[in-house]
């Protein structure tokens, strides 16, 4: 038995659902990144170390 191809309209709905999911995931990831930084001492330590190295070099700009 051959599986029936989804109708064009159904495929469009499916594609829109995926893209909307991507937008929702993106917004969630943005909120999560901000909250995670505020509440994650390990991540804060990474940033502190980055800041320390930048201060030591006198600039946040990478060497060529």
């Amino acid at each position: 038995m051959i599986a029936e191809e989804p109708k064009k309209e159904d495929r469009h709905k499916q594609a829109i659902a995926i893209v909307k999911q991507m937008v929702a995931n993106k917004k969630a990831a943005e909120k999560e990144a901000i909250e995670n930084y505020k509440n994650n001492p390990a991540k804060q330590a990474l940033v502190a170390e980055l800041d320390r190295k930048n201060a030591e070099r006198g600039t946040p700009i990478a060497r060529l």
Partner: protein, 167 residues
């Protein structure tokens, strides 16, 4: 002739956490660039799923309390981060623009501008737009290395996701 601005160095970044990159700008703004596994996008081809990631670029600390100004060193920094992330050359990055505030096209242009720094001869980008029943546009971009062994399949999967619905 190549533009001189392409050689502008970016900011130092750290990549101690898997798929997460942090950098601080001269204005003390802290960015996180992260890549989240997103195999569901190409649900029709399970073999591709481990290589599909969504990117998010987030200001996680901004001591200026103002909208981050245009910074010419951010694009080359993003470029270097992409270079690091794409060391595993099967990977593919999908970027979607948030359209909720009607600025989706502006965001897409900004992202395309960033992409201009790392495109060169090593990467390819494919863009498309989907429109829902309410007329809202969704801008979607796919970025791969040209030597990605799944290149053809990835493009077919992307095409399958979007092409049938173009006007």
């Amino acid at each position: 002739m190549q533009k001189e601005e392409r050689r502008l160095p970016g900011y130092e970044f750290t990549n101690e956490e898997k798929n997460s990159f942090l950098f601080r700008t001269s204005n003390r703004i802290l960015y996180e660039v992260s890549f989240k596994p997103s195999g569901y996008i190409f649900a029709n081809d399970p073999e591709l799923q481990p290589f599909v990631f969504e990117i998010s670029i987030v200001v996680i600390e901004n001591p200026t309390d103002k909208h981050p100004p245009a910074d010419p060193r951010v694009p080359p920094t993003i470029a270097q981060i992409f270079g690091s992330f794409f060391e595993q050359h099967e990977r593919v990055v999908v970027y979607v623009c948030d359209t909720s505030d009607q600025r989706g096209s502006v965001r897409q242009r900004k992202f395309l501008n960033w992409f201009g720094y790392y495109k060169g001869v090593d990467y390819a980008q494919f863009n498309d737009t989907l429109t829902d029943e309410e007329g809202v546009h969704y801008y979607v971009s796919l970025i791969i290395r040209l030597d990605n062994p799944y290149r053809r399949r990835l493009l077919l999967a992307f095409d399958d996701l979007l092409t049938d619905y173009r006007k």
